[in-house]
Symmetry: C2
Subunit: 343 residues, 2 copies
DNA sequence: CTGAAAGCGCTTACAG
DNA sequence: CTGAAAGCGCTTACAG
């Protein structure tokens, strides 16, 4: 039982001989079965089973010009990947959605300039058929370069328009503004009156849209929505803690905080605890994402669920459509309020 | 500035014509430059720059039989990927170590039987040159199958020998036992006398070795090391909380807990807080991993650092050596005690 | 050190 | 519906 010798794998030629047909017929069978008689198809099927034939993707790609693979490209600084659980959920979802089409996912990281160059060279050389682009910040140099090459790209999150260049980028995103509105409405409906917010970075769609949703609802409700109620974080836990401490300083009588991500909300809880405020009794905290961080400690977070499963499957669907020649499209997915303990 | 038309990319033929040499010479230049005169090399270099030539990997692979790509294969149930930050660190490290060799990493998940079949078919078809295998549990059906095919495989973590089949699996691991010993010695040296442990699953190397290290040091120190001081978790946060509550029930006067992972240690801290024990004053808590979970809350964890950067780079090094025809090897890397607040 | 040639395994018009 | 043939872009003995 050595198993160590790897003999030459069967080729289409072996299958053709075994099935008593030509190689062209085998190939046609493999590529949809058009113009193959039922009898020939049966013979080929049996021959494939007997020989254990598996297509040589390199030979196929050489002639079709397609690679039948897709890149999952991360352009955030690397630490993000580890602090933000959303990346993981997206990565798993995309891997599995692609696997269903038998398309492997190539993970690429372009955090440094050297990595960026390498990735651009690789992608523009046609080594992948398309790119799933994950970066929340605008003005991404890789994104802009890729757009110029004509290679199919789908971004996660709505790209911020910068001189009109990223406007035609296909993307899939949750409805940030509607989600923020729903959370703030929830806070208002439970009697909160001084509702501050820890917003995300102003160069990210989440940073802009969730803040806008917060403001809209407060204005509609006739509640204060001034800038003293706004502090910014960078989606990290620590930044949520700092921003919340700042808010407590400025507005000691706040009775709720809408935090633009669950991870930052974890930091907000720490700041509130340190300040002796009980959650939710003294201060209600609403998060965003419904990431693992939402339930990684106590109290469990009331939050807005982003439909990550659907986001990843839609990204894959849109990318495959682009590769198939369709026009770029934008998909906006609804969010959902999840009420737990913190608000 | 349309950029959308993707013209036929330059081939080796274009480069040869441009450089005034034959295609064979260009190819030799590309593959190490042996038997290429300095003058010819210069001409080819210039021609490559002018034409923007990038090798067509499919054509190359078709003839070399290598794919110049590697799979990162996750055989844990998928949730693990998201709860355990170590996977992420490993994934990033491997991606970047491979990128330095211009080898793309294919992410594959084999959690369900259907996914397992797909992955095995893909890998054994020769679509990757080797596999980085990440699974902490023994008796992994994919691992056993892969071993039989002769494809190069490197595992992360020491595989538990099961009927001698996985013994010859190349692997890279931290020194679990030595790390556990160091942590328990630290607890003893700071005056702790009733030191319980939350161990990992007994079918994982970490579950076995860290428990053994705990016991060895206590026996050497003449301290209690009975089974009532041992509870098991599954590396998840919740399991650490449950196991610690169980320990507090059985041994109310314990003054330290060595927890076999940081994530479980976070759960342990929650259980201790709920029981009204202060950390580290009443009970010291030592973790393992030095993962992001170690500093994701308060108190920050005293823990054992696994050298993830080196683990990933060694995994890649060993895999490339295997692909190059060398024999399987095992690498054991030292750990390091990191003292923070919890012990 | 160099070129001409064979061939890797597949797909796709083309002619029947 | 089917087969024979060309050709995708590259590497590698081979002969010089």
């Amino acid at each position: 039982m050595s198993g160590g010798e790897r003999r030459r794998p069967p080729t289409i030629h072996d299958v053709a001989r075994e099935a008593g047909v030509s190689r062209g017929t085998v190939s046609r069978f493999l590529n949809g079965g058009h113009n193959v008689s039922p009898a020939a198809a049966d013979a080929v099927r049996a021959a494939i089973r007997r020989t254990g034939y598996v297509v040589n993707r390199h030979a196929r790609s050489l002639i079709t010009g397609r690679s039948d693979s897709v890149a999952f490209l991360l352009t955030e600084p690397q630490e993000k990947l580890f602090e933000d659980p959303n990346f993981n959920v997206l990565l798993r979802g995309c891997t599995q959605a692609l696997a269903a089409h038998d398309i492997p996912l190539l993970l690429m990281i372009a955090g440094t300039p050297a990595e960026r160059r390498r990735v651009i060279r690789y992608v523009t050389a046609g080594h992948v058929d398309g790119v799933l682009l994950v970066s929340s910040h605008t003005g991404d140099p890789v994104a802009e370069h890729l757009l110029g090459t004509g290679i199919p790209v789908v971004a996660s999150g709505k790209p911020i328009d910068r001189q009109g260049r990223t406007a035609r980028l296909a993307h899939v995103a949750a409805d940030d503004r509607a989600g923020a509105r729903e959370m703030v409405r929830h806070l208002v409906s439970t009697g909160r009156r001084t509702i501050a917010t820890v917003a995300g970075p102003p160069d990210t769609p989440g940073g802009v849209e969730r803040l806008a949703g917060w403001r809209e609802v407060l204005v509609e409700a006739g509640l204060p929505a001034g800038d003293e109620l706004v502090a910014h974080g960078d989606y990290s836990r620590g930044s949520g803690e700092r921003a919340t401490a700042e808010l407590l300083d400025r507005v000691p009588d706040l009775d709720a905080v809408f935090v633009a991500s669950d991870l930052m909300a974890r930091g907000a809880l720490a700041a509130l605890e340190r300040a002796g405020r009980r959650v939710p009794r003294d201060v209600a905290v609403g998060g965003f994402d419904d990431s693992p961080a939402a339930v990684s400690g106590l109290p469990e977070l009331t939050t807005i669920r982003q439909p990550w499963d659907r986001i990843s499957s839609e990204m894959v669907r849109v990318l495959l459509a682009l590769i198939g020649g369709e026009e770029p499209s934008a998909v906006v997915l609804p969010t959902e309020l999840v009420v737990r303990e913190s608000a």
